[in-house]
């Protein structure tokens, strides 16, 4: 018999509006100064913009800071360190901010001559404002969940996998939380939680989650 969840899973979606802060950096030192004080929404925008903007290409630069430091300032070693920050392991944006600041601090401690971004190539800091809307899809069973997962936009997937955990500071992604707590599917919940969403495209991530759910249902992978 198909298990029925205590609470339905409601798929929501999110759309981002980008706000300008008026702040820009021309050197690593200026970037560090801004990173210490900007709202965490700025950090979120520059570390997650590529995930939602470039869903058809992979691999992509992992964050704007790494891209700018590498391509504009030519600081390849520092750029690599910023690119390698394992965002998936952080539980809050404040934790991520501290890690970025630590890397930039260490770099500046041993840095030689200041490298300036050429005219017109400053890094302009922006902030994400997220609008969260309901979709027509909800699920009370694993079958309905798989159906919704295949139907919703990648922005919905993005919300439940990324936004929920890091920006809303929930314990885990929304899918794993519902599967474990409302449906008792703890093993499946753990398998989804173990995926690193930062190293694949959104469509790739959708396929992997759907495949894990289909396996559990004994269906062929979608």
């Amino acid at each position: 018999m198909t298990a029925v969840a205590r609470e339905p899973f409601r798929f929501v979606t999110q759309i981002v509006q980008v706000e300008l802060t008026g702040l820009s950096a021309r050197t690593v030192e200026e970037l560090l100064g801004h990173l210490r004080v900007v709202p965490v929404g700025v950090l979120h925008q520059h570390t997650h913009r590529f995930v939602s903007d470039h869903q058809f290409l992979s691999p992509e630069p992992p964050n704007d800071f790494a891209y700018w430091v590498t391509e504009i300032l030519g600081e390849r070693r520092l750029g690599e360190q910023l690119a390698a920050v394992d965002i998936a392991r952080f539980r809050s944006l404040e934790g991520l901010r501290a890690a970025m600041i630590d890397i930039l601090d260490r770099y500046l401690f041993g840095a030689g001559a200041v490298r300036w971004a050429p005219e017109g190539s400053a890094l302009h800091l922006t902030k994400a404002v997220s609008f969260i809307l309901p979709t027509p899809y909800q699920a009370t069973t694993l079958e309905e969940f798989l159906h919704g997962l295949k139907k919703v936009s990648i922005h919905s997937l993005y919300h439940h996998m990324f936004e929920a955990r890091l920006r809303l500071e929930r314990e885990q992604n929304d899918f794993s939380a519902w599967l474990a707590h409302s449906l008792g599917e703890t093993a499946l919940a753990r398998a989804i939680a173990r995926l690193d969403p930062y190293t694949q495209t959104m469509e790739g991530l959708r396929r992997r989650v759907a495949s894990l759910v289909a396996q559990r249902l004994g269906e062929p992978a979608p």
Partner: protein, 407 residues
């Protein structure tokens, strides 16, 4: 008339459904756009398409154009140049002419919708009405404010800071302001006469009617006759490239009611051409959208060699037609082109000449650039994305200071 449903085959149902959902949340909100010209230029083109679509989505929207004499538009043209960082001298009379035109228009306009969108500096002074109405006001700036002349910015900033929010087309255009600044890139309409698909017969008919020979590859720049679009630099770049590959340059421009300088620039361009049979200069009326469409489609390479640029929508227009584009890395152009992937970015006359030669010699590479450019425009620069951003902005006015908004 274009219907909202007509966009479904181009952008997909998920995108249009999302727009309906957002518009439903705005039911009952009235909007009024104000700019300075009904035709000519990117702002008028966007409003021509945007306003009917907002109405079809159930957001009652009006569009008004301010009235001003030659003196007013001469002053605002100087504003425009000065805001782009080109040195201008201003007198007290200039600012007085600006203020009196605002007062004249305020006497004629109600401006009582829930949200008033003011486009660019020309009607910015209308914000004087805001306090009396108590409604929301948005200043939509289409130009690059990164390096403005302090005298004109010192005059405009106090006006701009009275708005509830400002909108800029690119991060680099903004300044530190005491009000919210939102990033909204402009867009092109894939169904407008300027961008819709045309049959090869239609293209040929139009090109023949305009008297453009097609015996050589056409290298084309479509832009107002404006010094900031550097038409003389385009001629120089073409003349550097021409000895190595037989081709023809086409400079196509229109005029707009709010640009009194264009006739003078057009005369300078014709003087520089000096009877050169390989350079064609076409001054078309501002409503020649179908002609521009056909010209872009008939061209082999498109140029946009601007010295300064607001956003440079002609780049997206050309990319949407799958054309390889060589454009200056100024203003909003680098947002539309990733160098070597979806087009070519240049910084000089010599660089432009070099890439004209390259793209005419390597048609396969040029075709790839055009294909990538078209997909980039589909994702980021079509009218539907622009509509979504405007709807979000209207919704955000109800949630000031919030970064996470549940609808």
């Amino acid at each position: 008339m274009i219907r909202f449903e007509d966009y479904v085959p181009i952008v997909g149902e998920a995108v249009t459904d999302e727009l309906r959902l957002l518009a439903d949340r705005l039911r009952g909100t009235t909007v009024c756009h104000v700019n300075s010209t009904p035709v000519g230029g990117g702002v008028a083109e966007i409003l021509t398409q945007m306003v009917p679509l907002l109405n079809q989505l159930g957001v009652p929207t009006e569009w008004h154009v301010i009235k001003g004499g030659n003196r007013f538009f001469a002053v605002t043209k100087k504003f425009h140049n000065a805001l782009h960082g080109v040195a201008q001298s201003f007198t007290d009379d200039d600012f007085a002419a600006y203020r009196s035109t605002q007062e004249d228009n305020l006497a004629q306009m109600a401006l009582d919708s829930h949200v008033v969108f003011i486009h660019d500096p020309q009607p910015a002074g209308l914000v004087a009405r805001k306090a009396a109405r108590g409604n929301h006001w948005i200043w939509r700036c289409h130009i690059d404010l990164s390096n403005p002349d302090p005298s004109v910015w010192g005059f405009l900033q106090p006006l701009v800071e009275q708005f509830d929010a400002t909108v800029f087309s690119a991060p680099a255009f903004a300044r530190r302001l005491g009000v919210r600044q939102v990033l909204i890139a402009p867009s092109i309409d894939p169904l407008s006469d300027k961008n819709r698909e045309l049959s090869s017969d239609t293209i040929s008919d139009i090109i023949d009617r305009l008297g453009i020979p097609r015996d050589k590859p056409l290298v084309t720049q479509v832009s107002r006759f404006d010094r900031l679009k550097d038409p003389l630099g385009v001629i120089e770049a073409f003349r550097l490239a021409r000895p190595y590959i037989d081709s023809r340059l086409l400079l196509v421009g229109g005029s707009a009611d709010d640009d009194p300088e264009s006739a003078q620039v057009l005369a300078e361009v014709r003087d520089r051409v000096d009877g050169d049979a390989d350079i064609i200069v076409l001054a078309l009326p501002p409503t020649s959208h179908l002609e521009i469409n056909a010209i872009q489609r008939a061209s082999t390479v498109i140029l946009q060699k601007s010295l300064k640029e607001g956003f440079g929508l002609t780049v997206s227009e050309a990319l949407w037609k799958g054309k390889p584009v060589i454009a200056s890395a100024v203003g909003g152009i680098p947002l539309q082109i990733t160098h070597g992937h979806s087009g070519i970015l240049t910084h000089s006359i010599e660089g432009t000449a070099y890439w004209i030669k390259q793209l005419l010699h390597e048609p396969d590479y040029a075709r790839k650039l055009g294909e990538h450019g078209r997909e980039h425009v589909r994702q980021h620069f079509l009218l539907t994305r622009h509509l979504r951003d405007y709807l979000l902005l209207l919704l955000s006015l109800r949630h000031p200071g919030q970064d996470l908004i549940y609808l």
